[in-house]
Every structure is written in structure tokens, then in C-alpha cells.
């Protein structure tokens, strides 16, 4: 028997798929040096699928997973132009929260947090969700007023949020400069205990593994080049690896969403902006919450490895470029030091950029479109990752039942023609 390429002894016995992950399994495989099977399989591409999902990020994979798990629809293909999670799902700052401004938004994101809470058990994959609390700082009377508003809307919807004063902020985050001498003194904060951070790659991989185990085909390095529409309904998808006949296409491509929607002839109120983020070298644990400052355009959290992750507002102009800029990192460092002067000697390891499909009202565009069989789960701007599970669940229901679920009824494309916008600008992001 030949040794496998990476030097491990070849596995004994039959390899079950998918491997069940457990502490005992880890110990056993450690002892017998058995190979882990791949988390998901790759299959040859068929020329026909019931459902084609464009975009292999958390949204597309979650929709595929819930189609298979909740509705038994398994003849599904997920097409990804790069590798799974190579877009916004791998570039966000992994913050989860539900302290939004509109009742529709709060209900929607709260459902997502509830799904995230049990996701590790559902997927048999450790997604490392740490509900460490989320703190949004107010540096002005106006932002304090918006936070009171958000806190009251949250309480009515059963979401734990409250406005706290500077003394309590200092108790939660001792390294924060809450003195009156700060350039932007901290007047108070919106404290949201259910918020936290998660391992974003693990969420993508967990959904991919769960979907693949239920029969969904995952096609990486497969770029969609066209969508065939005839008589107002979808007939198929053309890709860089051949054509697929299908009657249902879900666009879950975030920053690239207008390119896909254009192929189906659906105009979108979306503009693509890059959003940059950065991470520092690891330091000892000192920050146990997520800290956000809208005035300073920055949010900070500390990962389990000790790195500080910084996010910001979107770049000042539209672009499909994912290159970082020096202006950004200069500005970001200045803003972080306004908040936490103790970090002057901490070095930035790297910065990166992801694409955000911004909508006029900072809410997503979900559900059916004028083209029959072409559905969208786009417009995710700077807040898409936290909504992955609920968006996948709702879109799966939308595809399976043919009706728009109540939880996403407010987020349809038609609202821009009707004028019934869902304004989340005050709670969706920083510095807009």
C-alpha cells in the first residue's frame, strides 16, 4: 500500500461521508492518523438543474442548504466565480447584531441571530459564535437620540438593547478614552448584549458541507456569462464551463449583483462601493466587546487569536477594485487611536477590501423580480454577513413555495417604484 502524498498513512477502513465532527472523532483520528474526508464533494456539472444559485458565499450556500434541509429540493447548483467564500463572506469583519432601527429590520436580523445561535449544532461545524456584546458609541446628542430610538424599537421587538452612560462604557471597555478631553467625547452608548463575532469562514464552510451532504452541487471557478430569458421567464444560465438549463435562478452575488441582474434584464437601484478593513498583530486579550463609533467611522473587535479587527465605512467612490489604499489605513489608524490611545505601538498586519452593493435605503433587495424565475438576494451593502442564515432560509422558502415569506415582504424590488422604502441608514452602517 502506498503512502498518500502528504506523508500521512492512508486511512484504514471505509471513509464515511460526511465525516461526523466530534471531540471523540478528533481524538480517534489523531491516534490512528486517518485522513479527514473533504468537507464537501465536487461533482461534474450537469446540463440541467431545478435551481441555480449564482454566488457561493454565505447567502448562496445558506439558500442551497435550506432548500435541501427544509424543503427537500436537492437538484441545486451553486455557481461561484472564484472559490467558496471568496467575496464578501470572507472579507467582512464578522460582526453579528440585530439592533436595527425599523421594526422590519429588527425582526429580520433577530431571526438571523437566533439561527446563528444554533448553527454550530445544526451544521455539525464549529462556527465559534461569541456573543460578547456590541457597543455603539454616541459622540453627539443626535446620535444619542437615534440610539434611544433604536433601543426602544428593539425592546418592543424583544431584542435586548439599552442606552448606557459613559461610566458603564468605561467599565465594559477600560481601554476606551471616555474623558471629556477626547476630541469626540463619549456621551453614551447603545449596549446590545446578543451581538458578537463569529468565524466567518467556518459559516461558509459549514453551509457548503451541509448543502453538499444533502446532494447540492457546488461548482467553484465557474463564472456566469449570461442568463437566457424568453417570454419573461428564465430558461437557463450560460457559464464559463457550459450551459445549464433551469427555470429558477437566484442572484446572491452582493457586490457583483448588478452584473448578474443585467444579464436577466432586471434594473437594480444598486451601486458597488469597496469597503476596507484591517487587522493588527495579535495582542493579549483586553477587549471583550465589539466597539463601534459612527462618528469616527470605525468598529473594533478582538479575535480569539488576539488580533484586532478594524472595519470602517465604505470608500468615498464606487468601484469594483479590491485594492486597499494608503489614505484609508492612515485615516483608520487615526480614528482608532482617538478611541484607544493605548494602541499606538500596535502594528497593522494587513488590510483588504470587499465589495458592497449599496441600496438607497440601506436595506436589501430580496424576493422575486419582473422576470419569472429570476430571484434576487442582493443589496447587502455593509450588513450582509449577519443576515446570511435568515436570508438563506427566507429565499429557500420563497423558491420552494413560490410566495414571498412575511419576514422579507418589506424588502422587495418593487418598493423603489412604490416609494415604500425601509430606511435603515441610521443603524445599518457607520459614517454614511
Amino acid at each position: 500500500m502506498q503512502a498518500s502524498a502528504n506523508g500521512h498513512r492512508p486511512g484504514r477502513g471505509r471513509t464515511r461521508y460526511p465525516a461526523r465532527y466530534s471531540a471523540f472523532g478528533l481524538l480517534r483520528r489523531g491516534l490512528v492518523q486517518q485522513e479527514w474526508p473533504p468537507a464537501w464533494r465536487s461533482q461534474p456539472m450537469k446540463d440541467r438543474y431545478d435551481v441555480v444559485i449564482v454566488g457561493g458565499g454565505v447567502h448562496g450556500l445558506a439558500a442551497a442548504y435550506y432548500l435541501a434541509a427544509n424543503h427537500g429540493i436537492t437538484d441545486v447548483a451553486v455557481l461561484e466565480q472564484g472559490y467558496l467564500g471568496s467575496g464578501g463572506s470572507g472579507r467582512n469583519t464578522a460582526i453579528l447584531r440585530s439592533n436595527y432601527l425599523t421594526p422590519e429590520g429588527v425582526r429580520f436580523y433577530d431571526r438571523s441571530i437566533k439561527l446563528y445561535q444554533r448553527l454550530a449544532a445544526d451544521l455539525d461545524f464549529n462556527v465559534m459564535f461569541s456573543q460578547r456584546g456590541h457597543l455603539t458609541l454616541a459622540h453627539s446628542d443626535a446620535s444619542l437620540r437615534t440610539m434611544r430610538w433604536r433601543a426602544e424599537v428593539n425592546k418592543i421587538e424583544g431584542v435586548d438593547s439599552d442606552v448606557i452612560g459613559p461610566a458603564e462604557v468605561k467599565r465594559l471597555v477600560p481601554f476606551l478614552d471616555v474623558s471629556a478631553a477626547a476630541r469626540y467625547p463619549v456621551l453614551g452608548a447603545l449596549w446590545h448584549p446578543p451581538g458578537g463575532i463569529i468565524r466567518h469562514d467556518a459559516v461558509v464552510w459549514g453551509y457548503a458541507r451541509g448543502a453538499s451532504a444533502r446532494g447540492v452541487h457546488l461548482h467553484q471557478n465557474t463564472e456566469v456569462t449570461g442568463i437566457d430569458v424568453a417570454d419573461g421567464r428564465v430558461r437557463g444560465v450560460r457559464t464559463s464551463r457550459g450551459d445549464i438549463a433551469t427555470r429558477v435562478v437566484l442572484n446572491a452575488t452582493a457586490g457583483w449583483s448588478t452584473l448578474i441582474s443585467d444579464m436577466a434584464g432586471v434594473a437594480m437601484p444598486v451601486q458597488t462601493f469597496p469597503l476596507q478593513a484591517a487587522v493588527t498583530e495579535p495582542v493579549k486579550p483586553f477587549l471583550s466587546t465589539v466597539v463601534v463609533s459612527g462618528t469616527l467611522h470605525v468598529y473594533v473587535s478582538q479575535t480569539d487569536r488576539g488580533e484586532l479587527v478594524f472595519g470602517a465605512s465604505v470608500d468615498p467612490f464606487t468601484s469594483y477594485s479590491t485594492r486597499g489604499s494608503l489614505e484609508f489605513i492612515e485615516g483608520l489608524a487615526g480614528h482608532v487611536l482617538e478611541l484607544m490611545p493605548a494602541l499606538t505601538k500596535v502594528r497593522v498586519l494587513r488590510q483588504w477590501s470587499g465589495l458592497c452593493d449599496m441600496t438607497p435605503d440601506f436595506s436589501p433587495i430580496m424576493g422575486r423580480t419582473p422576470v419569472d424565475g429570476f430571484l434576487t438576494d442582493v443589496g447587502w451593502g455593509t450588513y450582509g454577513f449577519k443576515a446570511g442564515p435568515v436570508a438563506g432560509e427566507a429565499m429557500a422558502e420563497c423558491i420552494a413555495s413560490g410566495r414571498t415569506p412575511e419576514i422579507i415582504a418589506a424588502f422587495g424590488l418593487a418598493r423603489f417604484a412604490d416609494g415604500a422604502l425601509v430606511g435603515e441608514k441610521g443603524a445599518a452602517a457607520v459614517g454614511h
Partner: protein, 133 residues
Amino acid sequence: MILLPCAWCGPRDAAEFQHVGEVVTRPDPRTATPAQWRAYLYLRANPRGWTVETWYHRMGCRRFFKVERHTETNEVRPVTAAEVPGAAAAGVAGPAGAAGPAGMAGTAGTAGTAGPAGAAGAAGAAGTAGASG
């Protein structure tokens, strides 16, 4: 760092400017239906490639002008009159009005060649002098 060819100040750092966005044609508010008006307000082409857009030189001459930018590489080149959507219809160009080198009536003929940013700046400066005199 991106250099933008301001029609009046020459090539300047993009940080001095405010991105106004894609050039869109404003329908006549007296005759537009609500659907047309909302399409004008919200719908954008959001192309990946060359696009004509309006910028505002907020920390400089405080004028609006148009440039053509590649949204993937962020290359910028001066815009020519023929490339501005809706430029043929009078009064639809918004506050930018007769902006850009191409907008200078006297130099419109020569602005057809997308020259280097510096040349565009010089043409723009000449145009400004003419306009103020």
C-alpha cells in the same frame, strides 16, 4: 492615490473631490410619472468598466465636472462631449452644466482626443479664464 483631471485646476488627488456619481438624465419634473422619477432617483447602471461620472472639486475650485473612469482599475481619462449621456438634450446636464474640457464651447473640437490629464487641465484653465473675462 488617484489623480483626477479637474477641468480648471489640473490633475489633483481624488481626496480633494466628492464623488457625485454616474451621469443620469433627469426627466422633466412637469411631465415625469412617479415611476420615471423614482427610476431617475434610484436606478443606476453600476457598470464594471468605463463610466462617465460627475465629480465635485470640494477642496479646490468647487466646481462640478465630468470624467470617465474605469470602475475596476480606477484609471481616469477626460471625458469627451460625445460620451456624456444625454448631453445632446439641452438642460439635462444638471449643475455641471458646461463642465469639463469638452464643455468649453471654444475647445470642444480639440477635446475629442482623450489626452493626458495635464493637457486637459491646461485646456480647462484656459477655458476658465475665458469664461471669467
